[in-house]
């Protein structure tokens, strides 16, 4: 582990603050997003959606809509032949919930699409959609875990008893009763996190068109997972995968919302096939906030036993995830409860463990894996437990953490949850964060603010995050479609320029830059000579897209491996030209050089020219293509961090202001510090907003109450403060470059750090909050002694 100023590139391009290749076109207004694309004869889609959370569909009258100006088509479940998306987990405890592309005889949430109207103009499509008459027969709805789990609750899916779609006892140590009975202290609490919207600034979008020449349906989709969209459309519409090409052009953020397949994308594909005309759908923000996918609504009922020194002895958790109306394709509704139950112990050594995870169906939009997937919650649970144990035992909460953290000499550490944690800096990041907080004068500032009548508090969160899950890990979930590997193709053209294709699909993470850095080092060329092609199913046999902090480790690792094969070819060709041994050739600065002999060198473009244009001059085994394919499928690797937050609470209004924020993070080898810092800051902003602002609301009947950005509060610059970042680097042994994934860590650590800071600010009251978001009226009520 080395504390580095990450701008010092010591190893070629990896580690250098290379300016992002993506920036230029975005800054010039020349990005190419799905909504920017147009076609001759383009048609526009609008959906008729359910106004009821639960209803039977008695009948649909589309007569007036069909006769409206500009209407080119109108589709229902029946007219499309009842296609659906089926997300499958191969476990007995899983209840499949086919998600109809258009709802047929029954709707299960407000916003569920029932009719698709196609017109020659987007405004006219919406006009016509308003003319569709649907005969609704409302049914009782369940809009919360409690309501859905109550005895006699209405069922969303007839085969799901108690509305449970998954119910898994993941771990069950039979020593737990005796450990709890004998423990020095026991802490019990319930923790809850509200439903949130991923809220990419670009909503979902797609443009589908039939191409006669390629005999393909070509779809441009704002997605994180082009191949899974292809698979979803193929399965739902019973087509060969080859006959569909999905292209993700520039994508305006995803955060998990776009790592699942939307039924609207399939519906638009079906319409384009039927009409043989290009059809485009651009989701509006109301649809995005009410009818796309949400995440993150969870409840943890937890009991933990501690000894007198603060060491945790046992942990028992009942985990309920509000999964909405259907399992999202392809991950299924099990993604949240399985992640939570498997990874709850986190960075702490828990000797005995029991965890039960459930996914509960409710009459709300389906859940998708939102940035961090259950880790924001499990970190919040563990970090609150550490604070609560410290309070009961009258110990320093950071000392309680230290008593339980996996320490350096214990890696690789296999926990009670059967997970093996690779090397990290758990203890070191906490020590460094605490030292920095004191060095920066936070405690003194807190004291000054308190003396001045403000309420100020400091909170910490320690965590690690398993990233870059390959099939060795993902297969444990038993998904019918098991993700994890990715494949890269690296080619060198006759001018020595390099083309890398990948199945990952960046959408703001800077992959065009970081992949180029990885490949440039291996081939001895400048990153500007490496072009990444991504987001096109015709470019990779199969790929798993970008989510789960996987791309630079898995996709970048595959690219690095393929580049190594090309490097080997180049060295052999150079050796043949320079009359040297391949082992003595090094590739650097655009040249193939004989080590130790500056005069003996040949340009890499010259080697490329030879291979492509002068094949006959080369030995038989050196001829022809400069092209290599490689796959990477790692078990996963843990990055880690310690966050510290300081909040100030207005005692009059209860408003909570984020005042200072510090991240000590360790994602192994940093490929590009600019990109890493950007991911951390954006992630912290989302996590802090989950703690203080964001909440998708429904009434008890399941009617959405946060359908606009006036009601759903996304953080602006005014709600944020500067985020200071310190890097540690513990290289991963499980990745090609030593890098660990780091796309989600900011979002994972922030809720716990902020919530602990809020509770610290209220430390002289009897109030402790164990839910997010904590809202001003709750703080105000607490300070005024109201219930």
């Amino acid at each position: 582990m080395n504390a580095t100023s990450a701008t010092n590139a010591t190893n070629g391009w990896i580690g250098a603050a290379v300016p992002r290749r993506e920036d230029r076109r975005m800054l010039l207004g020349r990005g190419r997003f799905t909504g920017d694309l147009t076609r001759p004869g383009l048609l526009h889609a609008a959906f008729v959606r359910s106004p009821h959370a639960h209803a039977l569909v008695g009948g649909i009258d589309g007569t007036a809509a069909r006769q409206a100006p500009g209407v080119a088509g109108l589709f229902t479940a029946e007219s499309l032949g009842h296609p659906c998306l089926l997300a499958m987990l191969e476990r007995d405890e899983f209840v499949p919930t086919p998600m109809p592309i258009l709802a047929g005889d029954r709707v299960r949430f407000v916003g569920e699409p029932v009719v698709l109207v196609i017109a020659d103009d987007a405004y006219r499509a919406e006009d016509a959609a308003e003319l569709v008459a649907v005969d609704w027969e409302p049914r009782p709805a369940v809009a919360s875990i409690a309501a859905a789990s109550a005895a006699g609750a209405p069922r969303l899916h007839d085969e799901a008893e108690g509305n449970r779609l998954v119910d898994l006892l993941m771990f069950d140590d039979d020593r737990l009763p005796e450990i709890f009975a004998a423990a020095h202290a026991t802490v019990s609490a319930t923790f809850e996190s509200a439903r949130v919207a991923a809220l990419p600034l670009e909503g979902r979008a797609c443009l589908a068109e039939w191409d006669d020449r390629d005999d393909q349906l070509v779809m441009h989709v704002s997605t994180q997972v082009p191949h899974q969209v292809r698979s979803g459309v193929a399965q739902a519409l019973n087509l060969a995968e080859r006959s569909i090409r999905v292209i993700a052009p520039d994508v305006g953020g995803g955060f998990g919302l776009k790592c699942v397949v939307g039924r609207e994308e399939v519906a638009v594909a079906a319409a384009a096939l039927r009409l043989r005309r290009p059809v485009r759908w651009i989701e509006d923000r109301q649809e995005n906030l009410t009818a796309s996918f949400h995440g993150h609504e969870q409840r943890y009922r937890v009991k933990a036993a501690f000894d007198g020194t603060g060491r945790i002895l046992a942990l028992d958790a009942e985990i309920d995830c509000d999964t909405g109306a259907y399992s999202a394709f392809p991950f299924t509704c099990a993604v949240e409860p399985l992640m939570a139950a498997t990874e709850l112990p986190g960075v702490y050594k828990v000797p005995a463990y029991r965890a039960r995870g459930r996914a509960v169906a409710t009459n709300k939009a389906p859940a998708a894996p939102y940035r961090g997937v259950s880790r924001p919650q499990i970190v919040l649970v563990m970090e609150r437990l550490m604070e609560k144990a410290a309070a009961v035992l009258r110990l320093d909460p950071l000392q309680v953490r230290r008593a339980n953290l996996i320490s350096r000499d214990e890696f690789p550490y296999t926990g009670v949850n059967k997970i093996t944690y690779d090397e990290g800096s758990y203890r070191e990041s906490l020590d460094l964060a605490e030292g920095q907080v004191h060095a920066r004068g936070w405690p003194a500032e807190r004291a000054r603010l308190r003396t001045a009548g403000q309420r100020a508090g400091i909170g910490y969160a320690c965590f690690s995050e398993r990233t870059a899950y390959g099939t060795p890990t993902m297969s444990q979930r038993r998904m019918r479609m098991t993700p994890g590997y990715d494949t890269a193709l690296v080619r060198m053209d006759p001018t020595g320029e390099v083309i890398v294709t990948t199945g990952t699909c960046g959408h703001g993470q800077g992959h065009e830059t970081t992949f180029a850095q990885i490949v440039a080092d291996r081939l001895g060329v400048h990153p500007d000579q490496v072009k990444l092609r991504q987001g096109d199913t015709d470019l990779a046999s199969y790929g798993w897209g970008t989510w789960g902090s996987r791309s630079v480790v898995v996709g970048g690792g595959a690219a690095g491996r393929a580049a190594d094969i090309i490097a080997g070819q180049l060295k052999k060709i150079a050796a043949s030209q320079l009359e040297a041994s391949p082992a003595d050739i090094e590739l650097a600065g655009g040249l193939a050089r004989v080590r130790g002999d500056d005069a003996a060198a040949i340009g890499i473009p010259e080697l490329a020219r030879l291979v492509h244009f002068q094949a006959h001059r080369l030995a038989e085994d050196l001829r022809y293509h400069l092209e290599a394919r490689a796959t990477f499928d790692p078990p996963g690797t843990f990055s880690n961090a310690c966050h510290a937050a300081m909040v100030v609470i207005d005692p009059g209004t209860g408003a909570i202001r984020l005042h200072r924020y510090l991240v000590v993070e360790d994602c192994g080898v940093v490929i590009n510090p600019v990109v890493v810092d950007g991911q951390v800051r954006g992630g912290v902003t989302q996590g802090a907003a989950a703690a203080l602002l964001e909440r998708v609301c429904f009434d008890s009947e399941g009617q959405p109450a946060s359908a606009t950005l006036m009601d759903y509060l996304a953080p602006t610059a005014a709600e944020m403060c500067a985020v200071d970042i310190v890097h540690l680097q513990t290289p991963s042994k499980f990745s090609e470059t030593g890098a660990k994934g780091m796309g989600e860590g900011g979002t994972i650590g922030a809720p716990a750090a902020v919530l602990n800071a809020v509770n610290d600010a209220l430390c002289d009251t009897g109030v402790r909050f164990d839910h997010i978001p904590v809202l001003p009226h709750e703080v105000s009520a607490a300070l005024n002694g109201a219930p």
Partner: protein
């Protein structure tokens, strides 16, 4: 029947004449009728600011203005910031300070900042002032720090004699 109106306007100095439906927003007109797709729509109800353009020099939400209201006006969009392929100082600062990730909100922030920089040359350009400005728009990727730094750096560089 569509309620069509013939209008003329200049966009980034280029004259345009077109007929546009009364209800068509300026954003849709710019994007789909005139091809200025650099202006993005993030919410269509005036909160996110991704569609910010300059209408006769003033920043407006192009989703809340009808196209017909731009009749006779001078509109500036993100496509008009650079000198050919040469990024403006503001655009370059956005790259230098990592003020963008997915790039979808970026045109709105650039136009917001462009108007601010033209109007407020006498300001100190403290972090607090710039943060207040930047709070007009939404970005979901960056956490705003790079955007604030980029605008502040540009403002201060432009003040230097």
């Amino acid at each position: 029947m569509k309620d069509m109106h013939a209008i003329s306007l200049r966009v980034n100095g280029q004259a345009h004449e077109l007929t546009v439906e009364a209800r068509r927003t300026l954003a849709d007109m710019l994007r789909h009728d005139l091809g200025y797709t650099g202006t993005h729509l993030g919410c269509e109800h005036g909160i996110c600011g991704a569609c910010t353009v300059l209408l006769d020099g003033a920043p407006v939400r192009a989703c809340l203005v009808f196209g017909v209201q731009a009749d006779g006006a001078e509109v500036r969009t993100v496509e008009g910031l650079a000198d050919g392929d040469q990024l403006s100082d503001l655009q370059q600062a956005f790259s230098d300070h990592h003020a963008l990730q997915c790039g979808f909100c970026t045109p709105g922030f650039l136009m917001l900042a462009e108007a601010y920089l033209a109007e407020n040359q006498e300001y100190q350009h403290t972090e607090e002032q710039i943060r207040e400005l930047v709070a007009a728009n939404l970005c979901r990727c960056t956490g705003y720090q790079g955007i604030i730094e980029a605008i502040q750096a540009t403002a201060r560089a432009r003040q230097k004699p």
